[in-house]
């Protein structure tokens, strides 16, 4: 299809759309109101829920730090605490930055550039979140048994075989899952990167 043919189809489409205007004043106002409400809900639920769970767990660990009475439990506690606090902050900040692209004042190129950069940052944070989540999976185990059951996972566990099965399984799952996740993230990061490069090469 040549550009001229495209232009002719487009102009026919524009003509058809012009003849069939359907929006009413009421519908337009309802659209803005409804979108405003859905935006508040969108911010309120998934992100805040995740943050509350992380911060809640962090507070629980912090309040029970005195129960972590040996070096490995203490290290696990501190590492878990750091991950549970830093990760949601990083994630929320990067999502928020992505939302704050100046839609009304920026031109198309500025918006594309700014959004691609923020998207890349968000994807990188998500990628790191995935790695840290894996570390958390292991560090949280000893402190959970210690805090909730007052048992030392390493010295008081009589049967070792459940761990011998569970840990290799978790590692295999992580490798398979990480390959799939990384493929997705790398694709997104690469496309954002190529767009940034293309736009930065373009002189205004």
């Amino acid at each position: 299809m040549e550009l001229e043919e495209m232009q002719s189809i487009w102009s026919e489409l524009s003509g058809q759309l012009e003849k069939q205007k359907k929006l009413t004043d009421k519908m337009i106002i309802m659209m803005t109101q409804d979108k405003f409400r859905s935006k508040i809900n969108k911010i309120a639920y998934p992100e805040l829920l995740g943050t509350i769970i992380c911060f809640g767990s962090a507070i629980l660990i912090l309040m029970n730090l005195n129960k972590l009475d040996n070096w490995y439990n203490m290290i696990s506690g501190i590492v878990s605490l750091l991950i549970l606090i830093i990760l949601p902050i990083l994630s929320l900040t990067s999502i928020n930055r992505m939302r704050k692209v100046e839609i009304a004042t920026n031109n198309y190129k500025e918006t594309l550039l700014s959004y691609a950069k923020r998207k890349k940052q968000f994807q990188t944070v998500t990628k790191w979140g995935y790695y840290l989540g894996f570390i958390l999976m292991f560090t949280i185990m000893p402190i959970t048994t210690k805090i909730l059951n007052n048992k030392d996972l390493f010295s008081e566990t009589k049967r070792v075989w459940p761990f011998l099965i569970a840990i290799p399984l978790a590692i295999v799952f992580f490798i398979v899952f990480s390959k799939w996740v990384m493929k997705f993230y790398n694709k997104n990061i690469n496309s954002a990167e190529s767009l940034i490069k293309e736009l930065e090469d373009t002189g205004i």
């Binding site: 058809q16 004043d25 519908m27 309802m30 659209m31 803005t32 009304a104 293309e198």
Partner: protein, 162 residues
Amino acid sequence: MGKEYEFTQIIKDNEGVIFKITTIYTNNQEDQKDLYQEIVYQLWKAYDSFRGDSKISTWMYRVALNTAITRIKKEKRRGNQIGIDKVVMLQTEQYDTAFEERLKILYAHIRGLNELEKGIMLLLLEGKKYEEIASITGLSPSNVGTRISRIKEKLKTQIIKK
């Protein structure tokens, strides 16, 4: 004339343009409806900051295109949506099948372009001059010319591949 009245008139005058933008930047009706609403909402939010420095159509294209590229994709089931399907669907239902088919091919070609090119292509099809495309996109008019030549090349390659 109240702000609300002026705004609804602008949207009504440009509903076809918003529809075309949403078709290019989405792949299904659900997303299209969502983007349509999002554009109207963003235009409403940005309306106060419009001071008439540029033409209303330039401002509108800018906000609509910026909204389309920055929209964070969400899950399918979410919130209520005003029945713009009534608007959109009636518009497409009345086309003859041959035209619908040609339109599909046209959209497929545009969707094959990258985000920057999609915006330029849309403005070109809308009959905008290089200067206005430059003002909306932030590129220089000569750069717009270069980009359009590249788009034409790309379209030719797409045709050969098919």
